[in-house]
């Protein structure tokens, strides 16, 4: 144990089924006591990572360590990890009490100690008084709590949660998000939560891993990932975004939609083609005279908190705007935005290169060591 904070470490872990690679050389570290989310579309490998940690499957290549020890071939029943399953996987032949007591009975604990621990776990998930109910008598939300109680009663070092909220209705789901976050703080153990719901991930996590096609695209805090997505996939997957082609004329100056704008990005080669991302809520509607960009409003939807306005600029790019102000379909409006709202994404940049570039902004020192991809010729937009 060199690093006391690290509890799980993946090193170049690959998982293949026949010729199908579901996880491709993934490396990361999980720290003790934090709430992690593995976020990505279905088939991205997030559940595979969870199953590897739980011990239901073994990696094809690479090593997984737990508290500094390699656990590649330690079976699931010998790991100090417990899982809350997507379908809860509660035992239908046992009542609530016996479901929660299952792990303790396996450990041959004394009856009195079991009863005490089960009751404590039930209190923890606000289900006191339900111990003698059958599982079939419990609602979806209550089953969810039983599943959590059954896992935490074993005092695992890590709790794995496999899309546990996906079967609940919206209101209950939002409630459970708060409760899970609160539960993690009270227990102080590591939570690894798998979801395809970006709002859930942003609301609950200390750290998010965004996955796609068996690879980690980006990792960081929710604000990091939302504000500085590394590429088109992450920008698109997390929140809504306007992504238009452009190029970096020079440091702090980007060109897109046929115009040049001041921005805060640097470290690109002159005239390097890039993608420009601006969040819909960073666009402010003004008059056509004051706007940085002119768009013709194509459609408008009332979303409750804001209007969702969509329109096209002169270069033909579509822009999505979230505004509390109303626009009129068919009319032109001006859009205004700050230099900080412009996010420049380089093609094919790895997470390491991306992080180094961002660190350079903070120090305002162009980092010459960043390799610049040689992409021939600037694009004409």
């Amino acid at each position: 144990m060199t690093d006391n904070k690290t509890i799980i470490r993946f090193e170049n872990v690959t998982k293949k089924y026949d010729n199908d690679t579901v996880l491709n050389g993934v490396s990361f570290e999980i720290e003790r006591g934090k709430f992690y989310t593995l976020l990505g579309p279905s088939g991205c490998g997030k559940t595979t990572i969870l199953r590897l940690i739980a011990g239901f499957i073994e990696p094809s290549e690479g090593t997984i360590s737990f508290n500094g020890k390699i656990i590649n071939d330690v079976p699931a029943d010998k790991r100090q990890v417990n899982t809350v399953f997507q379908d809860y996987a509660l035992f239908p032949h046992l009542n609530v009490f016996e479901n929660i007591a299952f792990g303790l009975r396996i450990k041959k604990m004394k009856n009195a100690a079991i009863a005490e621990k089960v009751m404590e776990a039930l209190r923890f998930v606000n289900l006191n008084g339900y111990e003698n109910r059958e599982i079939s008598e419990m609602s979806g939300g209550q089953r969810q709590r039983v599943a959590i109680a059954r896992a935490i009663v074993n005092e695992p070092e890590i709790l794995l949660l496999d899309e546990p909220l996906s079967a609940l209705d919206l209101k209950l789901r939002t409630e459970m998000q708060y409760e899970l976050r609160e539960l993690q703080r009270r227990l102080g153990i590591t939570f690894i939560f798998v979801t395809h719901d970006q709002e859930e991930a942003l609301a609950m996590s200390d750290e998010i891993f965004v996955l796609n096609q068996g690879e980690i695209q980006q990792s960081g805090t929710p604000t990091d990932i939302y504000d500085e997505p590394i590429n088109r996939f992450v920008a698109d997957f997390i929140g809504e975004s306007n992504i238009v082609p452009g190029r970096m004329i020079q440091d702090f100056q980007a060109e897109f939609a046929g115009k040049r704008f001041e921005c805060v990005d640097q470290g690109f080669s002159p005239n390097e083609p890039v993608e420009i991302m601006i969040r819909p809520e960073d666009l402010e509607i003004t008059s056509t005279e004051l706007g940085d960009l002119l768009i013709k409003v194509d459609s408008q939807l009332f979303r409750g908190v804001h209007y969702e306005i969509s329109g096209y600029d002169e270069a033909g790019n579509e822009w999505l705007v979230h505004s509390t102000k109303k626009a009129i379909v068919g009319e032109s409006i001006g859009l205004r935005f700050d230099p900080e709202a412009i996010h420049v994404m380089r093609f094919g940049e790895t997470e390491e290169e991306f992080d180094r570039r961002l660190e350079a902004y903070a120090g305002h020192e162009p980092d010459s060591s960043v390799p610049t991809p040689t992409v021939g010729g600037a694009r004409n937009d």
Partner: protein
């Protein structure tokens, strides 16, 4: 709407009346008459004599043995079947013999178990020498188990298939070894299938009669054999009917008793 639906029910009701209700009523009626055609309680009184009680005991004992051995073979088979690759093919191979007429299969065993049959020539070749296999308790139970096995495998296999695989992961996740997982999760969840299978074997096994003659050479006399003998040989229809009535009552009691428990188990 209700009129046309009633029309559809006619064949079913006609069938039930003609081939289920009427025979039962006739048998109950017959059971109260002696050979001369006088009303009597004597048939039921005769049933309580040691000869018939012994037959009853035999019937239950052999039905129990057949059920037990069927279960011992069927459970591991069903368990293995669930994990195998070509499930449907194996399942078909298990079901196909049950499509073949029971008598044909029984005659096949006479050929196999006979003094000059395949099994004896094999034993001879190995050096054990010819054995009396046919006309023993062993061959009776063996052939019956062979015939009933598909009816035991299918319900158990179905109950295994119904188990949500994540329950097995959950059990391992909570620290249970593969054996513990079987004992605490898999087996309790297949109890419904085991009960259904035992019912499907035990009840018909109670009234077996052709196999008793062909394979066991009437060394094993069960209630089924007695009924057959009374109707076809001694012509004492009253006594045959009385045994049949008692057998029907016993079967109904078993079905109600095990059926209820099975149902409760599936709800949980």
């Amino acid at each position: 709407m209700t009129k046309t639906r009633n029309l559809y029910l006619i064949p079913y009701i006609a069938w039930m009346l003609l081939f289920v209700a009427t025979p039962i009523i006739l048998i109950v009626y017959d059971s109260f008459f002696d050979v001369e055609g006088h009303f009597t309680w004597g048939n039921f009184q005769k049933f309580l004599t040691p000869v018939y009680l012994r037959m009853t005991f035999n019937s239950f004992w052999y039905a129990f043995l057949i059920t037990l051995f069927s279960l011992l073979v069927a459970y591991p088979t069903a368990y293995w079947l669930r994990r195998t690759k070509h499930k449907q093919l194996w399942l078909l191979l298990i079901i196909v013999p049950s499509w073949i007429n029971l008598l044909l299969k029984t005659y096949a065993f006479i050929g196999l178990f006979g003094t000059y049959g395949f099994v004896n020539s094999f034993l001879d070749w190995v050096g054990i020498g010819t054995q009396q296999i046919l006309f023993t308790d062993f061959s009776f139970v063996f052939v019956s188990v062979y015939i009933f096995i598909p009816f035991m495998i299918l319900p158990i296999y179905n109950s295994l298939e119904e188990i949500n695989p994540s329950l097995l992961y959950a059990s391992r996740d909570l620290g249970a070894s593969p054996w513990m997982t079987f004992r605490r999760v898999v087996f309790p969840l297949t109890l419904g299938g085991v009960k259904a299978g035992c019912q499907a074997v035990f009840i018909p096994a109670l009234s077996l009669f052709m196999i008793t003659r062909l394979i066991a050479g009437n060394r094993v006399v069960t209630l089924g054999t007695a009924i057959e003998q009374h109707f076809l040989v001694t012509q004492d229809w009253g006594m045959g009917s009385a045994i049949a009535v008692l057998l029907i009552i016993v079967m109904a009691v078993i079905m109600i008793a095990t059926g209820n428990r099975g149902a409760r188990n599936t709800i949980r």
